[in-house]
């Protein structure tokens, strides 16, 4: 019983700021700062898109997260497949680079990318953001997929080959369905990391502003309640997606996969 109470206490601690954020989306505040509770209102949800800059930053974030997740998922899945299924020259080296990219502090990643863009005179904007976001999620997808592949029975794939299935058919009909949970978990992680990133984005975005970067900038003058409302919606959407993903395979919880691999 103590264990249960403690776990809930910990979860309460983790969820408290989320509740505060959601609450202040309903704050009937008049001046620009939204830090003191002044009564309940729904008007921030009614005027959700009244701040064109905030709306644009939010849209940029969503598009960026979708694009970079798609690219990182494809590249990461392929690499994860190779690392989990085959022995080949350079496998160890690739593994180390992948792990380094996962473990490298965001700050160092951002700084290194900025150094390169500055040295090569690459103008920073949406394309450089895609490059950066794919980079920091790629490794996570690869590691997640590798963990999944490593747990598969190779006999299934061999059986499919014996039945005359070509490589593409085997991938589509046999491998993909089996690694799908790993791919989904990796994609979810990639999306969550992209949509929340401030550090790398700040370094590589130039004058392209994303939702968290805009909010970080606005904290100096006062975050408008619409930001809380959008943050709450994002939280709800993410929560639903994660719930759907974990519901589909109740026994294979998706999140721990990655840590499982690293801790092995």
């Amino acid at each position: 019983m103590i264990g249960r109470a403690y776990t809930w206490l910990l979860l309460g601690w983790l969820l408290l700021p989320v509740a505060v954020m959601a609450l202040f989306a309903f704050n009937d505040t008049e001046n620009r700062g939204n830090t003191r509770w002044q009564g309940f209102t729904l008007r921030w949800y009614q005027h959700l898109f009244d701040r064109p800059d905030l709306t644009r930053a939010f849209a940029t974030s969503v598009v960026l997260a979708l694009v970079s997740t798609a690219v990182a998922t494809v590249l990461g899945t392929l690499a994860g497949l190779a690392l989990g299924r085959y022995r080949f020259r350079g496998r160890g080296a690739v593994n180390v680079v992948v792990l380094m990219s996962v473990a490298c502090p965001e700050l160092v990643l951002g700084a290194a990318l900025l150094s390169m863009f500055v040295t090569l005179n690459v103008p920073r904007g949406f394309p450089t953001l895609v490059a950066a976001h794919v980079l920091f999620s790629l490794g996570f997808v690869a590691v997640t997929v590798r963990a999944r592949v490593a747990g598969l029975d190779p006999a299934v794939d061999e059986a499919a080959r014996d039945l005359g299935a070509g490589p593409w058919a085997r991938f589509r009909l046999v491998t993909l369905p089996m690694i799908a949970p790993g791919v989904a978990a990796g994609a979810l992680l990639a999306f969550a990391m992209s949509i929340d990133d401030v550090v790398v984005t700040g370094f590589t975005g130039g004058s392209t502003v994303t939702f968290p970067v805009w909010v970080y900038g606005a904290t100096k003058t006062g975050v408008p309640p619409q930001a809380n409302a959008l943050g709450t919606l994002l939280f709800a959407a993410g929560a639903l997606a994660a719930l759907a993903a974990s519901r589909r395979r109740p026994r294979q919880s998706s999140e721990p996969k990655i840590t499982e691999e690293i801790s092995r």
């Binding site: 620009r32 700062g33 009244d50 064109p52 500055v118 904007g125 004058s207 606005a218």
Partner: protein
């Protein structure tokens, strides 16, 4: 090193008369500004679009001058567009760098008749941009001291009070090295505009002691407003317009007797702008008092167009109830329309040469960084 030694002086570009040759109005422009520096519904921009037929893409992408400079430096150096035709830069190290590096378009004053006509005399020909060669003011402000009268039971009149051990853990300072340095120089009895490296050393030592004695609770960017309104800090360095707009009713603002810092956020056109003529049109349009008044009514900083006060008074008469009171308060506020006595005590940041800049930065920068 040899190459840099001979190249330094010639780099600052003189206003280039040829810049405007062949440049035509395009009917559109994009503008980079600070968050909160325009009405939430962007009414001023909509009015300009109606008046001029120019379509404006307005972005609040400048969070701080330093990082903004970091973002635009690379494309400007490579003669690439930064995606903006107009931007707002505070006078100071980064503006100086932009001028020196030839990153700004020289202004064609023949196309700025309203600036000539309506800009207040104190806003023309500033020391940081002689002859307004590259910039015209957008809004100005004063750095002084804000204090919460619920906690501070004496009158605050002096910078020395920011160093008073009685306020241990209750003082806020600014993290920007030009702001912090200027107040440090005031505190050791020197004039920031004319300060010497020796003044900087003494000022830095004093500021460092203030930090190490635990008097400073935090170094702020702009988030001091909330902190002083709640009483987390009792007195803090502050910007006039912020206090006017955002602080709670208990917060008072003073220009200290030693002096305060005045700064100007300036409109300027990057040298790689794609629609510079339209940017110039907008600059000029903003100087018509009728156009400027709604903006000043919102941002509450010091406008370069003194006639705006007349319009705001007239608006106050037309309005009723709460709105009328607000506008009267604004028109009467010394924070928005400072009196001559206060203006006389204001100093600008020290203008730094390229050799002085690292010395200055090395003196003050590590202090808010905890080193």
């Amino acid at each position: 090193m040899a190459a840099s030694a001979c190249g330094v002086k010639g780099r600052g570009k003189a206003p280039d008369a040829d810049f405007w040759r062949g440049k035509r109005a395009a009917g559109k422009l994009s503008w980079a500004n600070w968050p909160g520096y325009m009405q939430d519904d962007q009414a001023t921009i909509k009015a300009f679009e109606r008046d001029s037929g120019v379509r404006v893409t307005y972005r609040e992408v400048i969070e701080e001058t330093g990082p903004w400079f970091g973002k635009i430096q690379a494309p400007l150096a490579a003669h690439q567009s930064i995606g903006f035709d107009l931007m707002v830069l505070t006078n100071g190290i980064q503006l100086e760098k932009c001028r020196r590096l030839g990153y700004l378009a020289p202004l064609d004053h023949a196309r700025l008749p309203n600036f000539e006509k309506y800009a207040g005399p104190g806003f023309k020909n500033p020391s940081f941009d002689p002859g307004n060669a590259f910039t015209v003011p957008y809004e100005s402000g004063v750095t002084g001291i804000a204090y919460n009268t619920r906690y501070v039971k004496e009158e605050i009149t002096s910078i020395a009070q920011l160093f008073d051990p009685k306020y241990k853990g209750r003082v806020g300072m600014m993290s920007d090295s030009q702001e912090l340095g200027s107040f440090g120089v005031f505190a050791v009895g020197a004039d920031p505009e004319k300060s010497t490296p020796d003044d900087w050393r003494r000022a830095a030592a004093k500021l460092r002691r203030q930090r190490d004695d635990g008097i400073v609770r935090k170094y702020y960017e702009q988030d001091y407003v909330d902190a002083v309104s709640k009483g987390e800090v009792w007195l803090t360095m502050a910007w006039s317009g912020d206090v006017y707009t955002m602080a709670g009713p208990d917060v008072a603002f003073v220009v200290p007797e030693e002096g305060g810092t005045s700064w100007t956020d300036n409109l300027c056109i990057p040298s790689t702008a794609e629609h510079p003529v339209d940017a110039l049109t907008l600059m000029d349009w903003l100087y018509v008092p009728e156009h400027n008044a709604p903006l000043t009514e919102f941002v509450n900083y010091i406008t370069p167009v003194p006639d705006t006060r007349r319009i705001i008074r007239a608006d106050a008469q037309k309005a009723s109830g709460k709105k009328a009171k607000e506008l009267t308060r604004l028109a009467d506020s010394p924070l928005v329309f400072p009196n001559a006595d206060e203006l006389a005590r204001l100093r600008r940041y020290r203008r730094l040469t390229q050799d002085e800049e690292p010395v200055y930065q090395r003196a003050f920068e590590p202090i808010p960084r905890g080193a």
